[in-house]
Symmetry: C2
Subunit: 396 residues, 2 copies
């Protein structure tokens, strides 16, 4: 049989990162290509205790069907936390639990974007989200990312010229892959532009709690008095990614459509995970846990940046120091063949992600690659970066 | 702001069943409207043991990111089980784990159906699946269901006349809502028709293990030498629905597209649940558990049918005896006002699901309603059916 696939998936490819994972599966290869949180950051003991308690005291609630919107106590707890800590959420907003923040990208696109409509995003941006938008045949329009966020002139031009722009997708803190944090001024400016052009913002903040230096910057959603921002939150980096737990805070009319879509997609999110997250946030010292996480990542990130400074000749590979997150964006000299560099690195058993994977058009020229420091051990990280440094010296 | 929603969700409504759940939440109301598995059917002790073991011995594997295709040992175990027990799965097929079988409906539609394309389904059929197809703007074409499955003449006519038919959706065993099991002859005929007209079949079998009488009938997928059947399986009725665990067995080119879509939807399914299911299938007596389940449901179903025979005057409400599953389809006399009957029942504190909720066009005439016997206690079931009997006597 000739399988006729839908137009929306015709050009959809497995994420380039996943292809690279094939090399990374070789145990002799040092993988700097993943995006896994550091395993030592998981509160294993607490999760085991809570899980055990649920299965002893309240197993049926964890095992039976539940409601699409999510486990009510968790919705309330997250809602209060986000209001108290970040002034996120208004009377006109609602919060639902999703199967990872990835599902927020999916459900918002499904609810608000017709095939051929435009989604504006940062260039580069997170490939998982871009593929989610692409899977509904959205047209992607990338806005060049500067050290403090999107180029505002390009953004306004896009808002003026692009047809049927449905939302602006932005990862405000320690962006994946660039590590860039959008400044407060730009956050405000982007909000005003969205308002002026009557376009939604999808603010994705999976790494916000992983700040290792500097002060927190208010989320765009915290300015949202007009009901134009959908905020995607995640438990993947602060509790466990394997649980697949995220949430969205957005105006009720949007959330109600997302709920109907979620019903047809997976009915509801795994209940055990929702109960574990709720008890972890309410019966343990959640803020102390977050502080501890920041310590872990501060150490890892600084170690990685020190290695880059130690092993890499500055005019060969440059990078912008990060204030948090999991990734560092490394730039080769203008004109260098980045793809060849990444291939040579694989031959020397180091895996990084070629930067063009994160562009709206993968065929565009890109001289950067992404490295991750949370997954490898310190030894692996040192070995990997040393090899990258040697390679750069030799071929660049 | 005026929220412009996408065309695909414009007419999408929350499932009518969920609306009815609002009444059902009233503890004084007897709800025969749910579709929850019987809580006593959950292997709570075993799940607690396994969960505890995972969190003690292998927590990081359960908490870290995993692969989109699913936990490899579970894929292998389910694959072998389905091959050994039902002759389902060929060399050209692949199996991936999904977030409930609901996600199979979603991913297959997303992968194979363009907006405006046609999906053929039984009429009536499971509302969750219909809404999933609708959410991609598929056109639904309902084929009248007879006591032994779809009307074959209507099916062939639809295959001849409908444009861009992408698949035939069929729940082969103890169909929701009708309770109908498609006969072996009709399964074979439907397979041949699909082959003749070059159309896929989506065979959904969430209740297959819950047979309470008669012999197992071979799944359509077991005849599939041509690679034209996608088979959706579920752990919801045999382990736990709260875990959100399902799977699909389908030809590799289809599955590979579904994987790309799943990546953008939820990255992968909750790992803890996948590990629990795997250990339950391999380290416990899984077949004895299934046998025990059938005992539980046999008792419940027979109790319910006995009550119907006891309390309901035969010419007022009729039903077809079931061989398994969770639902009984009750028919009022021709010309009776079914919606009014359901409303009157709610006023007397019994909730059932009006049959039109399961039609491709909810506005169509329907004289049936669905009752469920797995969720209520024996006392609730007796009370509820007695009230339905009294009501029928009074107003029909």
């Amino acid at each position: 049989m000739d399988y006729i696939v839908s137009d929306r998936v015709k050009t959809l490819k497995p994420s380039a990162i996943r292809e690279i994972f094939k090399y990374a599966a070789d145990p002799t290869v040092v993988s700097l290509s993943a995006g896994n949180p550091a395993p030592e950051a998981f509160p294993v003991k607490e999760i085991a205790e809570i899980s055990n308690k649920i299965m002893t005291e309240n197993p049926i609630a964890a095992l039976q069907y539940s409601v699409t919107e999510g486990y009510a106590p968790l919705r309330k707890t997250v809602s209060e936390f986000m209001k108290d800590e970040y002034n996120v959420g208004r009377e006109f907003d609602d919060l639902i639990i999703t199967s990872g923040a990835q599902q927020v990208m999916d459900l918002l696109t499904k609810s608000m974007v017709n095939e051929g409509d435009t989604v504006i995003c940062e260039a580069p941006s997170f490939i998982g989200s871009l593929n989610s938008f692409r899977s509904y045949n959205a047209r992607l329009c990338g806005i060049p990312l500067e050290a403090d966020g999107m180029n505002l002139e390009c953004l306004e031009k896009a808002l003026q010229n692009e047809k049927n722009v449905r939302f602006i997708y932005i990862i405000t803190n320690f962006q994946n892959p660039s590590g860039v944090t959008t400044s407060l001024e730009k956050r405000k400016a982007i909000y005003e532009l969205a308002k002026k052009y009557n376009v939604l913002i999808l603010e994705d903040n999976p790494y916000g709690e992983l700040r290792i230096s500097g002060e927190n910057i208010a989320p765009i959603k915290s300015f949202d008095e007009d009901g134009i921002v959908a905020y995607a939150g995640s438990f993947s980096k602060i509790l466990s990614p394997g649980m697949r737990l995220g949430y969205v805070i957005a105006p009720k009319p949007i959330v109600s459509k997302m709920v109907v879509c979620k019903q047809g997609e997976d009915v509801h999110t795994n209940v055990w995970a929702q109960m574990v997250a709720h008890q972890f946030m309410t019966e343990y010292d959640f803020k102390a846990h977050l502080k501890n996480l920041r310590e872990i990542y501060r150490k890892k990130a600084n170690f990685c940046m020190d290695l880059l400074d130690k092993y890499i000749v500055p005019n060969k590979i440059t990078y912008q120091r990060i204030d948090g997150g999991l990734f560092i964006w490394c730039k080769l000299p203008e004109g260098a063949d980045m793809l060849d560099f990444c291939k040579q690195a694989v031959l020397r058993k180091v895996c990084v992600v070629p930067g063009n994977a994160f562009l709206t058009d993968e065929k565009e020229q890109c001289s950067s690659f992404r490295i991750n420091f949370s997954t490898p051990t310190d030894e692996q990280l040192e070995k990997g970066i040393k090899i990258l440094g040697e390679l750069a010296k030799e071929i660049l």
